[in-house]
C-alpha cells in the first residue's frame, strides 16, 4: 500500500517526543517510556514523568497484553476517509503495564467485542512510513 492511497488522518510520527514510539511500532514492537526514578510507565510520550517530574526516561518493550475497557461503534461519518468503514469500532484498551490507549479492535466482528475482553497488540502497517497500534483478541496461549 502506498501513501497516496491511504486517505485517513495520520499520527505525527516525526514529533520528537513520540518518534521512538512510532519507530518501534514500525518494527512491530510496542514501546513506551518508563521513569527510571519512580517506575511509572507514561503514555502519551512526554519529556517529563507526570508522576515525579523526572526528565529522563527508559524506553521499554511492553507485553502488548491488555483488556478492553469499553468501546463505541461509529455509525456516523465524521470524516469522509472513514466512509467505507461504517460501522467501525473504536476502543479504549488498558495495558497490563498501566497505560490506556485509544485504538481499534481487529480480527473479529464488532458484535463479538466485549468489555473486559483480553486483547493483544496487532500492528497495522497502514503506509510505508506509519504503523498503527491496534489490538486483536488474545490467543489462548498468550
Amino acid at each position: 500500500m502506498t501513501t497516496t492511497e491511504y486517505r485517513k488522518p495520520l499520527p505525527r510520527i516525526h514529533d520528537p517526543r513520540s518518534r521512538p514510539y512510532w519507530e518501534a511500532a514500525k518494527r512491530h514492537e510496542l514501546r513506551m517510556q518508563r521513569c527510571p526514578k519512580c517506575g511509572y510507565v507514561r503514555f502519551p510520550p512526554g519529556r517529563y514523568c507526570p508522576e515525579c517530574l523526572e526528565a529522563s526516561d527508559t524506553w521499554i518493550t511492553l507485553s502488548g497484553r491488555g483488556t478492553v475497557w469499553s468501546f463505541g461503534i461509529y455509525d456516523h461519518v465524521f470524516n469522509q476517509a472513514f466512509n467505507d468503514d461504517i460501522p467501525y469500532n473504536v476502543a479504549l484498551v488498558e495495558l497490563e503495564e498501566g497505560p490506556r490507549l485509544i485504538t481499534n479492535i481487529v480480527g473479529i466482528p464488532n458484535e463479538a467485542i466485549a468489555i473486559g475482553m483480553p486483547v493483544e497488540v496487532a500492528f497495522d502497517d497502514v503506509t510505508d512510513e506509519v504503523t498503527l497500534v491496534k489490538f486483536r483478541p488474545r490467543s489462548a496461549s498468550a
Partner: protein
C-alpha cells in the same frame, strides 16, 4: 478541602441580568456578533448601561472567535478587568466572575458567549490529535464508551435512556427560543439511527448559532436593579485533567468531589433543589451527574429518571429549557439563564411552581466539572 472558604462566598454575588438570543441558523452573523446581541439583551434585562460594566469575561468560540480583545472593542468598552476562558459550560465563567467581584477587580461583570458554528459548519471531525488515525472523532466517541460501560456494569438500557431525550424535547416544546420543539416518543428514539452506538441520534446535542450573556455583581449592588437578584449560594469545581491516565476517567468519578463541596458551600442538600439543570452534550451527562451529585445511587441513574421524575411536573424537574439536546447547543450557556428565569417566576408555561433553589452541573468534556447552586 476549602469548603469553609467557599461558604464565605454564600449569597455574596448575584446574577442580575440574563440575555439569550434567538437560537438557530444565522449565517449573516458571526459568533462575536451573536455575543454582542446577547450582551445587549442582558443589559436590557437588568436596566444597566454598558458604562456600568467594568469586567468582561468572554468564552472562546468556533473559528478563533470569542476573545476579549476582539469583543471589548465591538462593545466599545475598556473594562477594568477582562479575561477569556478556553472552554464553555458557563459555570467556569460565572465562578471566575464571582471571584473577580469578591477580589475587587470589578464591580459588575458581563460573561458573554456567541457562536455561529452551525452556519460556519463546524465539522466536529478531525482535531489533529494522533487518535484521529483510529477514527476517534467527536465527544460521542468517549460518551459512547462511558454509556456502554454503564450499561454493562449496572444494566442500564436504551429504553431507560430514551427518557432523557423525550423529556427534554417535551420541555423544549414549551420554550419559545428552542430550536427543536416537535415532541418525540420512546419509539422515535429507539428507531433512530446510531451516531456512535450505543448513542442514538436523539442522545446528541444540536448544532446551532446563538448568543448568551450573564450580568453578575455583588449582593449589595444587586438590590436596586430592574429585576430581583438571583444569588449564588454555592459553587465548586474539580478536575480530572490527567484524562485517560486516571482510572475510570470516562465514568467521571472526579465529579463527586464537586458534590462534596457544593452542597456544604451552599448550605443545602439535594432535597432542597427545586429545579435542576445538567449540561447535556449527550444524554450520558445527565445519567452520570444525577449519580455523582447524589440524587440517586451510583448505577441507579437509568431507573431513577423513569416515571416522570425529571419531568416539569415531576419531583426533580430537569432541564426545563430543553437543554442542548432540544433547545440549542450553546456550550452550556443557556441553562443558567433558564435557572434565573425559573427563580424569578418568568418561565411561563415551563414554570416550576414555587421554585426557590436551582442547581446547574456541567463539565468541560471529560476533564473538568463544576456546579452552581442559585436561589431567589
Amino acid at each position: 478541602m476549602g469548603v469553609a472558604e467557599l461558604q464565605n462566598m454564600r449569597d455574596k454575588v448575584a446574577i442580575v441580568g440574563v440575555g439569550t438570543t434567538s437560537q438557530g441558523i444565522f449565517p449573516e452573523k458571526d459568533g462575536n456578533d451573536l455575543a454582542v446581541d446577547g450582551f445587549k439583551l442582558a443589559l436590557a434585562d437588568c436596566g444597566l448601561t454598558k458604562d456600568d460594566i467594568d469586567g468582561l469575561i468572554t468564552c472562546k468560540s468556533y473559528g478563533g472567535l470569542g476573545i476579549d480583545t476582539q469583543i471589548a472593542p465591538m462593545l466599545g468598552m475598556n473594562p477594568r478587568y477582562s479575561a477569556t476562558l478556553d472552554y464553555g459550560t458557563c459555570n467556569f465563567s460565572l465562578h471566575l466572575a464571582a471571584a473577580v467581584i469578591m477580589a475587587g477587580f470589578s464591580d459588575v461583570v458581563a460573561c458573554v458567549y456567541g457562536t455561529n458554528q452551525r452556519s460556519n459548519r463546524n465539522p466536529f471531525g478531525a482535531t489533529g490529535a494522533d487518535t484521529d488515525a483510529f477514527g476517534f472523532f467527536n465527544i460521542a466517541g468517549p460518551a459512547s464508551m462511558a454509556l456502554r460501560r454503564h450499561m454493562a456494569m449496572y444494566g442500564t438500557t436504551e429504553e431507560q435512556m430514551s427518557t432523557i431525550a423525550v423529556t427534554f424535547r417535551k420541555h423544549a416544546s414549551l420554550n419559545p427560543i428552542a430550536y427543536m420543539k416537535t415532541p418525540i416518543t420512546k419509539e422515535d428514539y429507539l428507531g433512530s439511527r446510531y451516531i456512535v452506538a450505543p448513542l442514538h441520534l436523539f442522545d446528541m446535542c444540536l448544532i446551532t448559532d446563538g448568543g448568551a450573556c450573564l450580568i453578575v455583581t455583588s449582593a449589595e449592588r444587586s438590590h436596586d436593579l430592574q429585576k430581583p437578584p438571583v444569588y449564588i449560594m454555592g459553587m465548586a469545581e474539580s478536575t480530572g485533567l490527567r484524562y485517560l491516565e486516571n482510572d475510570q476517567q470516562l465514568m467521571r468519578p472526579y465529579i463527586e468531589k464537586v458534590a462534596e463541596q457544593v452542597y456544604p458551600a451552599a448550605g443545602v442538600t439535594q432535597k432542597d433543589i427545586d429545579v435542576l439543570f445538567i449540561q447535556d452534550p449527550t444524554s450520558v451527562w445527565p445519567l452520570q451527574m444525577l449519580e455523582w451529585y447524589g440524587f440517586c445511587g451510583i448505577g441507579e441513574g437509568g431507573s431513577f429518571i423513569q416515571d416522570g421524575r425529571i419531568d416539569l411536573s415531576g419531583e426533580l424537574p430537569l432541564n426545563t429549557n430543553g437543554g442542548q439536546l432540544s433547545e440549542s447547543y450553546m456550550w452550556g450557556w443557556l441553562h443558567i439563564p433558564e435557572a434565573v428565569r425559573q427563580l424569578r417566576g418568568e418561565a411561563g408555561p415551563r414554570q416550576v411552581q414555587g421554585a426557590e433553589v436551582a442547581q446547574y452541573c456541567s463539565t468541560m468534556g471529560f476533564q473538568k466539572a463544576a456546579s452552581t447552586i442559585l436561589r431567589r
